[in-house]
């Protein structure tokens, strides 16, 4: 669907036919059309080398597209980059900090680089230091901070100038559960007022599921699916999943008997874990047990769960390992 100028102006982030190719090989990003709305948390998922980082770098204006356009609040990033920059906040995947500078000096420096007036900057610095529980370490050089504190500061730096669009590139990588919970809480609050937009890339399906309003799965530079997590989960099949741990790989006859109860997934023919996905799977459970035990297989454990985003991800991108 071709976006009109009005559509683009109403969107936080939009891309039109965005592509990036390098000297040799296929396109890293291939004709990507994104429409991210204000107040939305947009999850961008994909296996390693899918084109997520390339996409993010083009959205930030760090990488020049081979073709296509990027718009932030209706402004094309190549022509109005200086104006667009103030509206963008970025939390890079790697914590980029100056080891000799303190926590407050980092926030001050980045704020000044975005032309935040002194008084506002001081107030915002105080607020963020409090919000991310950095108060005790405010005068510590960052080389003395723990990994978790460094990541919290990294996120605070993305917010110090009050951006409309916040790009979080794997923000929870390396965080302990407490810090991750704090981070998720902050991300949810960011979009509460419906004004700000968050673009999130992550390898944590749980994180994407919990935080994202919509999720796009990218692979080989192409957007494979894009919808809400619930729709995506439903798209791979109604019902629940019964996972069973067996004492040995089931025979072909046992597998055939299982397929009468639902869709069977087995990572390899010799794998001892088998999943059966289907509607009313619990009512079918006795029949499944009979099918397996009659072939001499012992069931060591079972787990019943609903479809997850990971199921969607694996279904869309396959199970083969990436570079």
């Amino acid at each position: 669907m071709l976006l009109t100028s009005e559509d683009i102006a109403s969107l936080s982030v939009a891309t039109r036919n965005l592509s990036k190719g390098y000297d040799k090989g296929p396109l890293a990003v291939d004709s990507l059309d994104l429409s991210i709305r204000p107040g939305e948390v947009f999850g961008l998922l994909g296996p390693n080398g899918a084109g997520k980082t390339t996409t993010i770098r083009m959205l930030l204006g760090l990488l020049r597209p081979t073709c296509g356009q990027v718009f932030v609040h209706g402004e094309e990033i190549t022509t109005g980059r200086q104006r667009v920059k103030s509206r963008l906040g970025v939390c890079p995947q790697e914590t980029v900090l100056w080891p000799e500078l303190t926590v407050s000096e980092h926030l001050y420096l980045i704020g000044r680089m975005y032309d935040v007036p002194g008084k506002t900057l001081r107030a915002e610095t105080e607020r963020l230091i409090g919000e991310f529980s950095l108060g005790e370490k405010r005068n510590q050089p960052t080389k003395r901070l723990s990994g978790g504190l460094r990541r919290r500061l990294n996120l605070a730096m993305a917010l110090v100038h009050g951006p409309d669009v916040i790009m979080l590139d794997e923000p929870s990588a390396g965080l302990d559960p407490q810090s991750r919970a704090l981070l998720w809480e902050r991300v949810k609050q960011l979009t509460k007022d419906g004004r700000r937009t968050v673009v999130l890339t992550t390898h944590s399906m749980e994180e994407a599921d919990r935080l994202s309003d919509r999720v796009g799965i990218l692979d080989h530079g192409k957007m494979l699916v894009l919808d809400t997590p619930d729709v995506l989960k439903r798209s791979i099949g109604e019902g629940d999943v019964l996972e069973m741990e067996l004492d040995r790989a089931p025979s072909s006859e046992a597998m055939e008997a299982l397929r009468r109860h639902g869709r069977v997934e087995q990572q390899a023919a010799t794998a001892t874990t088998v999943s059966v996905r289907g509607l009313d799977i619990m009512q079918r459970f006795p029949g499944i047990v009979v099918a397996l035990t009659s072939s001499g297989v012992v069931i060591r454990g079972t787990r019943l769960r609903p479809n997850t985003l990971e199921d969607v991800f694996l279904k869309m991108t396959g199970r083969s390992l990436r570079d």
Binding site: L62, L63, T78, Q82, L88, P92, V96, E100
Partner: protein
Amino acid sequence: MRFLPLSFAIAKRMRRDLFTLFFAILFPAFFLLIFAVAFGKTGPMKNQRLDLAVVNRDEGLRVNFGNGQDTLLLGVTLVDVLESLSYSTSSGWMRSDSSSSGLTGLDSLGLGARRPESPVFGVVDTLREADALKKVSSGDLDAVFVIPAGFTKAAMAMAMEDVMGRVFTGAMDGFRGEAREPEVTGRSSGEVAGPTGPWSGSSAGPGVLGRKPTVSEIQRMIDDVSRRLERRGKKTGLPLDSLSLPSRKADPVALSLAGDPSNLGFTMAGGIIRNVLDEFLKKVSQRSLEEAKDFLPAEPSAATADLISLENSSVAVETRTVFDYQVPGIIVFALLMLVSLVSVTLLLDLTQGHLERLKLTRMSSLDYFLGNTLPWMVLSILQLGLLFGVAKLLGYHNAGGMLAGVGLVLLGSLSSVSLALIVAALAKNEKQASAVATMIAVPLSFLSGAFFSVRDVVVSRDFFGHSLGLTDLSPWTHTTKALVGMLTFGKSLAEVRWNVMMQVGLTVLLLLVGIGLFSRRRLTAQR
């Protein structure tokens, strides 16, 4: 004004990174110490012989000071003085003991010389200036010194200014003595009978004319006084009849010293000859007074026995060592060290993601450049202060103050940051940057004449009226020359303006290339 917070942040980082600060500030000071030990007062290099060709066109002057006629050849005498200058063990250089050389004109001045053991100059007499200049170009000679025709005449004319004043005073004293005679024999008191002519009046003295008398007027006055005294049967006791004064009138003459400005030997020769010449002319004047002392009133000052001796002279250049010429060079070396430090810092910004983090902000290329340049410029000033202080402690003889070098050092640091930008734009990582910067900065230090003078390849013999060598294409060459001129020789900014102009021009050029290249390769969106 985004560059200011960036500058402050970089300055804080530098202050907290003591290892880098140590290398940036203290390493050149250690380097200075090494040079002071090697080339300072006790160093062997201070006795470096300067090869000088002399073209002596002076034809001399026939003169009679009352003890017979003689031909005075001050040009020859000056050459002899230069030949006899030697390095002493306690100070930079000094005149060796003099003795008769048998040269015409020297005896009358009491000058003479023997070959010194450790000469300052290796003097080659020649009349072929063009050949000598070729040897300067090829580096076989440090300088060509031309003594023009009329040098003795001009020097003596200068000396006669003093002599005539004194002779006039003496003559007037004689006149007053003659005038007082009638008073003893009954003339009325207060009546002063004087000689007729321009000096008649109620009082006597040099001020009676309201101007300095001419030589002929003095001569006439002396003759007049002598005649009067003789008429009265008195003797002056002075051989006035034999007095024949040289003319005060002479055409101005200019001595010239030609050489390669990038050659430290030429710079040294210039400083030494300038001071020798001043001293020489002073001594000629004193000697002239000495010769005419029988005609003069009480001596205002004691004449020296050795006319050209400079042993006790307080002329600054006398105590110079090679180290004195190297101190500005080491300051330039410290500036060139910035190339490596700055380029590595910029590459660290790149490889550690700091530059990309800053690129996400509203920072412009100019902000980044200024933000990074200012702290290094401040550092270079601190470095200058430290190096200057350490150099003074180690015996640096400077004629100019440290403040004279501030502007030059700021310009030099700007050149270094510009070159660092180019290195950082082309290198892939900090290791490459360090290696490339060192490979560029160290040869540049030598080529800029920071440590020793270098033989240059002439690119143009007339570039806006100046000879342009290959090394002149480096701004640091001009920083070195201007710093040597201002700090060591105490030259004014006007005197080194050519070097400053070249430094500014080349720095601007380097800056434009540096900013352009760095912006294009590092600060714009990647392709």
